[in-house]
Amino acid sequence: MSHESHPAPGNFLTKYIFSLDHKIIGIQFLFSGLIFWILGGMLALGVRLQLGWPNQALTELLKWFPFLEPYIPSNWGSRISPEFYTMLFTMHATVMIFFVVVPWLGGAFGNYLIPLMIGARDMAFPKLNMLSYWILWPSFLFLIASFFVDGGAPGSGWTAYPTLASVSQNPEIPDPGFDAVVKASAPADKGQLPAVEPGLWEKIKSRWNSPAAAQSGQGQVYWLIALIFSGISSMMGSINYITTILNCRAPGMTLLRMPLTVWGLFVTAILQALALPVLTVALFMQLLDRTVGTVFFLPPAGLSFGNWHTGTGGGQPLLWQHLFWFYSHPAVYIMILPAMGMVSDILVAACRKPLFGYKPMVFSMIGIAGLGFIVWGHHMFQSGMDPRLGTGFMVATILIALPSAVKTFNWLATVWGSRIHFTAASLNALAFVSMFIIGGLSGIYMASTPVDIYIHDTYFIVAHIHYVLFLSSMFGIYAGIYFWFPKMFGRTMNESLGKIHFVLTFLLANGTFFPMHILGIRGHPRRYYDPSVFDWLSPVQPLNQFISICAILMGLVQIIFLLNVFYSLFFGPKAGRNPWESNSLEWETISPPPHGNFETTPIVLRGPYEYGVADAPGGRISQTGIVQTEGLPTIPQGSQA
């Protein structure tokens, strides 16, 4: 067994920095994610600042943050420029998806919880595990560096569709058609924007080496490299998780005795291992297009940007969308399945009642993952692919609502008739269930292809993705942090601060994201710098302002969470082995667990959800518990897989 191969670390460097211990690596992922979470939040607030007050000069902000001057230039009246705006939402999405939610769920919780919950001493491949964290650092560096290269970070959206993202031009070739194009499309009859000063455009143009997307010159190349590294990291992690779960379970821990958290992470790891190679290939193809001049995504006749012509191609821009969404749709499940598992376990521990329908829960996860591979085309209904393909993708997409509904009903049946303890963790988990319903239902609108014609690429989809990724996944992550913090650091978080943070975030997140459905129903396209250019969108400007106010307040409320984390880390009350009186294996060992996790290898006798057992002490039997009680069904001894 591999975990015998590394001894307990001796010094600080091997214990906390280049650690082979899955628990330290998990915590490294947790804190790296926290830094990017703050960055991603700031970028989102920049987006909301612009949309709430589109023509507001930001002179006060400039006094506080003078380094923003190149992006909020004085000849734009100290406003956010449209190019800077495209960068804000591009990098917000990139950071939150690839550097926050994926590393937190897969990296932090996956690393920390899998060996502990299955009774292993460590991961199957501890060195690969360490590498999976440290290979993220080139990724971090390239991502951060992209903000500082000529032209800044990319502005072609996190989806990086060619040819906007992939065409680059020799910067020495002038682009004489450009000024004419800008003036021709200026909204002259609105008169709200200052006249474009030629000096500014010269300045901006000199920073570009791409005529297609603002700020997508070098920044786009750095972005591609950053994502390739982060993909390799996830790939290493997923191989390790699959191997660990299949080979390193404690005696008696059959697959169908694993807690749902482990199931969620297991299914996610399989999804990642199968889907990530496709994204990596696509990223390499775009990188080659941009750097050595291949034409994977350039159509045969080439393209004209003003008076500049790219030369002939031979590729197909739509190919990127297929490859990209073949990964990025499963990625949506990669970012929700672990949270579903965690929320199930947290709910059960808080409700003191067995999980309702363990097997249907496991099978619906597998169902979501399986169907997840054949629904990527629903991002492309209006892309120009054969509409008959759209029909097939619609049917598959509507089918995927089914396992999601089954999960929802099982959560409700778990809560019904239980004895709920309201903690910061369980409240966030309950909110996950409630908000996942909204996020799931709004998805059905997009699945119906004719309705999607209208709401595709509007704020309706922005609302949907945030109900799934913020109000569901992120609330699952909050719940997970409150719940497993005592195990990770041996101290519990402050419950009162946790509840205040929960109430405010719950209210403000709904205030931020629910009105976006209404913007979408009105037809408000996403990624618009200033919707007031359009007459038909002017009635929703008050809603945009309301959303921005809620978003900014919600950003401030997160300070409570950060304070709680860092205060509790050092001053929180000491936690025992099992503060929540939970059944799964990680609570059997001391908090925080020692190197090697368990004093003696646990022997697993039953599933993790034996609650409500009237005769047992505490009304529960842990997974290793031997309790002689009358009337308790005898659980057959499982064999080690």
Partner: protein, 308 residues
């Protein structure tokens, strides 16, 4: 305290639902679907309402159960919970019930999708059983570029099989207009969508019409307007308001660079072919008297049309 949590969940969910109800019930706020001005639009809106009703039922049922459970079952409830691990009957029940709803949605969606996007597949996807291109009253080539729409109107009738060639070659009598789409009520319009540079998306909210333009491809899009908003008055030589005094806009719905938000066009639906042709003749005369490269032939009319 548990009642507070139950009420919090109830308040949040009711506010969300309430916001939708207010937006629907008070159209004067301008927070709901814009006018429906094509033959497809009411069908798409109908589907939207059908899904809303089914999702609304599911929403009320599931959130209701959750809110009541939080109210009824706090940890202070006497006794321990019953150790129920599941129920096959319930699982089958709540698997089949959503299946029924989802089948209804799928069944209702398929014909609308087919109507909207399947016509004329043969031209674009040469597969044996594809349907042939239907006859069109109007053929317009829309070329998107950073950051405006260029429209080329066919002024002479076109045969269905001649459309491809016309799109490539054009004819000298074609009319070029920037950012303005003129059609007449009831005309079967075929748009051919192209782009010279990046992906754009031609979005007309009132027609519930959206189609990406794809570099290297010509994508057909068909529609029929059902309400008119302008009329051409030959005596004044300008557009005046029609049966519906609305200004209808065209937008870009796919990120295409910094000025993505500025790709604003206008839709003019004439009441009949006569009014459209009067405008067309007028615009052609104007175009002949100017240099195409430096001016948009109808920019003066755009200002006139905005007057009531």
């Amino acid at each position: 305290m548990h009642r507070f949590w139950s009420l919090l969940f109830a308040a949040v969910n009711l506010s969300c639902l309430g916001m939708l109800v207010v937006a629907y019930a008070r159209p004067e706020l301008g927070w709901w679907l814009p006018e429906a001005a094509s033959t497809q639009a009411p069908k798409i809106d109908g589907l939207f309402y059908l899904i809303s009703v089914l999702c609304g039922l599911f929403f009320v049922l599931t959130q209701g159960i959750l809110i009541v459970a939080i109210w009824k079952f706090p940890s202070t409830t006497p006794g321990t919970a019953k150790p129920i691990h599941g129920s096959l009957g319930l699982e089958i029940g709540w698997t089949l019930a959503p299946v029924a709803g989802l089948l209804v949605i799928t069944g209702a969606s398929l014909p609308v999708w087919k109507d909207t996007k399947y016509q004329g597949l043969q031209a674009n996807f040469p597969i044996a059983n594809a349907e042939p291109a239907p006859a069109a009253d109007q053929v317009i080539l829309v070329t998107a570029r950073q950051w405006d729409w260029h429209l080329r109107y066919a002024t002479a009738p076109l045969q269905a099989e001649g459309i491809r060639e016309w799109a490539e070659e054009g004819t000298p009598s074609d009319l070029m207009v920037a950012d303005e789409l003129h059609v007449w009520k009831g005309a079967k319009v075929t748009l051919l969508l192209r782009t010279t540079d990046v992906i754009h998306s031609f979005f007309i909210p009132v027609l519930r019409l959206k189609q990406d333009t794809l570099p290297g491809k010509t994508i057909p899009m068909r529609f029929e307007a059902s309400v008119s908003n302008v009329r051409f008055d030959p005596s004044q030589g300008r557009l005046v308001s029609g049966e519906n005094n609305s200004s209808w806009e065209i937008a870009c719905a796919e990120l295409c660079g910094g000025n993505h938000y500025r790709m604003r066009g206008k839709l003019f639906v004439h009441p009949d072919r006569k009014s459209y042709e009067a405008w067309l003749n007028h615009a052609q005369r104007q175009a002949r008297s100017r240099t195409l490269a430096t001016s948009s032939p109808s920019s003066s009319m755009q200002k006139d049309a905005s007057k009531p």
